[in-house]
Amino acid sequence: MSTRSNLSRNITILVLLVAAIGIMYSVFAFTKKEPTVLEVGQAAPDFQLETLDGHKVQLSDYKGKVVLLNFWASWCEPCRQEMPDIEKAYETYKDQGLVVLGANLQENNVSIKGFADNMGMTFPILMDKDGKLAVQTYKVKPIPTSFFIDQNGILQAKAEAPMTLPFIEDNVKPLLAGTGG
């Protein structure tokens, strides 16, 4: 074995191993596409949507208020479970500056109206007709998902499970007490 062929053999081995490790790495980078999520602490993406009763609503209109943005659908059982508590929280704290926006995923108006009447929901319901707000803007995976947004439009908390009234209060009270910048 001359040193020359030894060198080329070693280079071959190195190239092959590096290629193999590179392929391996990219396989796992490829299959484990971490879904991007909205992190607490970043600004809540602004949006404009129509409500169930035909108004246009823009998130930035609520600067200075605490916003609870809840993604729901009437076919989702946990959503149905938490809805009365969200409504209760809304009635209790709306005078102190809490806004609740219930973004409905891709259902028809008549169904939503019936559901809201049965539940006695009084907060504005956003019509996310194509699901863009949930999927693209807010990267919602399970529903219900809720975001707590402070007076400056910053995401302060996130819940990916049905909430109870105490849980909502624990998140909302400190935000309401915080100065609205």
Binding site: M1, R9, I13, L16, M24, S74, E77, V110, S111, D117
Partner: protein
Amino acid sequence: MNNGKKRSVFDGIWDFFASVKVGVTIIVLLAVGSVLGTIYPQTNAIPSPNPEFYYYDTYGKLGDFYYRIGLADTFNSWWYLTLVLMLFISLIIVSIDRGIPLYKSLKRQPVARKVIGIKGDRLYTHVEGPEAQVKLDELAAKLKKRRYKVRREDGALMAEKGRLARFGAYVIHLGLIITILGVFSRLIPGWYYTDMIWLKEGETKAVGDLGFSVQNNGFTLEFYDKEQTRAKKFETDAVVFEDGKQTAAKHLAVNDYLTYKHTNIYQNSYDPQPMFRTGTIELLDTKNNNKPLGTFVLDFNDPKREYKVGDYTLTMTNYFPDIKIDPEKGVFTNSRDPYNPGIQFDITGPDQTEPARQWMLPLAGPFVKQMLGQDYRFDLQFKDVDLFHMTGLKIERDLGWWPIVFPGLIIALYGLVLAFYFQHRRVWARLEEGVLHIGATTNKNWLGITGELNKVLVPLGIEPVSQKRKEEPQQS
């Protein structure tokens, strides 16, 4: 390979991958892994989006273990990929380690071999006499006719046929290397995509991030029998949109697919459970011998809040597209798709002080009649109803298949044929001291070369060759 020098790590790695034993072991392990992967269904074939729970719930502890070691997605598990990559490295190193020396030694073959070597050949004959030089020339001519590559030197001949057959194994290696590269080409962004999309009629959905969307422009379903058990055909009018413009359209049927931007769109399946599209509903007055009061058309995917029928107004107070009635959980909808609509109307009219509130459940008519029907003021009947099925399209893009994987497989097949059905035959002749020595060798099928040579030798009056010393190892 070790000539007394210290062995380096590189020598160790090289010898490991150059070993046939290791190569065969890797192939066997790949086969065993693939077999084990068939015990339970793979993750892409389970009726649940949560494999981490499904395997434990369905197959218990063993199922959980199965999922954890990656067998539930065999081809993408770390150990399977490692084996494939090891095979890839092994194929390359083996080919360098043995293929290149073989190539060199065959290239350096002498025409004038030593007589002692020729005499040692498994097939050997000789002829003496003044004719020897003539016979050598005739032998060369006859072997040329038999498509041997004949090389001559003074008093010597070397004829060779089918040298490529010796490289059959390396051609197989090359084919497999290309195939493996083609499979991994799927990692290049945009090269590989596969998905199922479900479309209602008129619905448009974006296809992953490929930059276009597909619309279902109409779905037809026909059955062989009245009971609708065996589908005769199901076809979709598919339209492709890109940047808001229609860019392609095709009537898709099973095995008749649309190719758009190297992406195949196949008619794959349909949802056997129909949905309600529209219905023409007649309002009947039960207090008046079911006198028809008029009709209205209801769009189940986009219902209106109010419908006018003659002097009567129907207000939809509740609409559950897929109604479930549960003693514990009450009334709710199971999905947003109108599989099983449940509608609650408030009906007001000239002869009513109070709105009549009543349900309409098309798939549970008798239930409504029995449970609630006694005192209903009105009756709601379908005059005409339009059901539809969702179509299931399979989207597939694999840019590596035709240019890389397919040729790789063809090359591997060609290599198999070379290795198994072709032989490398060599004939040497040397004239020495008036004796013409003829020796021949092959890498396989000794019977074949014996017959062929004798067809050449016998007409020349040379004693036919016969095999001898079978136990003797053949040389390359």
